[in-house]
Amino acid sequence: MTFTKILGATTALALVAGSAFADGHSAGPAIIYDLGGKFDKSFNESAFNGAQRWAEENGSEFAEFEITADAQREQAIRRFAEDGNNPIVMAGFSWATALGTAAVDYPDTKFVIIDMVVDAPNVRSVVFNEHEGSFLVGMMAAEASETDVVSFVGGMDIPLIRRFACGYAQGALAANPDATVIANMTGTTPSAWNDPVKGSELTLSQISQGSDVVFAAAGGTGIGVLQTAADEGILSIGVDANQNYLHPGQVLTSMMKRVDNAVYESFAAGDMVEPGFNVMGIGNGGVGYALDEFNAELVSAEMQEMVDAAAASITAGDLTVHDYMSDETCPVLEF
């Protein structure tokens, strides 16, 4: 008796609430963050910054959602699609399965997935040429190195991170054929993204092998790498966002992966987002190296000239950086 009463009351309440919230809801673009959370100082936060920049410039609002479990992936996509949000942007390769399942049910909604390819007529897949950006910072590393030994600390050992490492090694060897490149991965499990202590240990080990420039492509682990490099007086290279400010004068540069630009452009295009495969490389501002007041003293005019020349020839197609993910091999680095 009591229970049916409660149920009845809940349903009545729900109906009232439903009518109250159904109207007044503006359906603009939506963004869904991956499990790392919105403020991860890296990938998700970069996506958020892009969305925020669009909102500020246009005085508009966007819907957003932070999932707390994998079970919510498909739910989040469907929820925004049914609410009329368009386009719906999601950051991270883990969205592919859920999006592949859900996208077919909403042919009029445009979806954007970053870092992974989903082949559907209403999905725009944005991937970055991380190997090209890494090539540029690899050149800078080899130029800045006095020991001719440079190193790399990756997060989880997945093809995407090997792509960073392989591009970096190619860049270093292009600038200095005698350079030695040491590459280490933090681990093979997701915890490798957030293990600054291990990152610090790997850096110390690389320093003992002679490295004096270290590139971290390791999410939260990279914070430990940059810290140890600064403590030990060697140079480091940040990743994804511009991390030069973390240790002014001690971070050589950052390999910028402009997730924010990808989100911003998708939001700006609105429901006119063009589906299909989209590559963000050096040419269209997708990847690059960071230069600001924090590293101006470290980057000589000569170094900058050389890197810009390489960037130009990559854009022009005169210089090809081998992409690890194209054939899962790297000509210059053993994993």
């Binding site: 009591t2 229970f3 809940t10 349903t11 309440l13 729900a14 109906l15 009232v16 609430a17 439903g18 109250a20 919230f21 809801h25 499990l35 819907a63 959602f65 932070e66 707390t68 479990a69 994998d70 079970a71 919510q72 498909e74 739910q75 989040a76 469907r78 929820r79 925004f80 049914e82 390769f93 883990s94 592919a96 399965t97 859920a98 592949g100 399942t101 859900a102 049910d105 992974m116 989880m156 997945i158 093809p159 995407l160 093979t188 499990t189 997701p190 915890s191």
Partner: protein, 365 residues
Amino acid sequence: MDAMPKWADVVLVPVVSLLLAAIISAIVFVAVGQNPWDALKLMAYGAVGTSDFLGYTLFYATNFIFTGLAVAVAFHASLFNIGGEGQVLLGGLGAAIVCLYVPLPHWSLALIAGATAAAIFGALWVVIPAYLQARRGSHIVITTIMFNFMASGLLIFFLSGPMKPIGEMQVATAVFPAATHLPSLHDVAQMFGSEMFGRSPVNISIFLALIACVGVWALIWHTRLGYEIRSFGKSESAAKYAGISAVNITMVALLISGGLAGLMAVNNTMGINSPQLVDNAAGGAGFIGIAVALMGRNHPVGIVIAALLFGALYQGGAELSAATSIPVQIVVVIQALVIMFTGALDEMVRAPIEKLFLRSQRAGE
């Protein structure tokens, strides 16, 4: 115990606990600048407002029924199995192995084989803690919680190594073959010409959960084993005096508990729209099961009601953070408050109510 009538124990105490949680939640909402009444309405709408939302609520409730039953069976033997989280993960591993590597021609066979494998894997994961408790007196709380970490590590090993599809970067298995996909309730509704539950993942394993409820009820109150479990739980020394083997009962109760937790994998791994095993498949359901069992007074009927409530809370909370600017962390705080008041602080509410009844009885005499 005799101080309170049964209705007070079963209804009044949980309701008062919920009210207290609601009051504190309201304060939290006001503190972050939200209208608590609007938030409550939105949560209720998010939980049952559309048949899709209802479907998600039932999907999460199915998870919590399994873990709630798992905790309850162990509770009847006075054992505190907080390893549900790990047992769910291992259950998922069992279900995934069966679905991926055994060519099953039809979903009904997949359901039977997957459920069996999930229950066996879940039960096996509790064998060592159960043995250590029964024979060596190592506390089950400590061992099961440590086994949660090991389960998580073991699962990640499999998902980022042997079971990972080539070229994939997500820490997950491949999607299970189409023949093993369990029908969703939407598929069932469509047979009757209804579009109920939309594309929500609630699936036929909710019936498995209800069957498990009946099974647990029959086991605990209508079999000799159930009687032995309860007597052991009430008084270990009396049970021993009556010739009940402490070792056997500890082992059996915990194995059943682990098996029930493992069964949750049928719902959250095999039953979803694109079934695959992911690295955090349990998603906290093992711990929520503790609150569900406490609130449901370890009785299947109570567990179903409590699981529905927590399912609604989980789904309504997700809708709340999606539809408003309330940060997801605040929603987690609200959910935790309800768990804390109904689960951990149960005695805090119970003792004063008991006193009140005692006093009124004395006044009546």
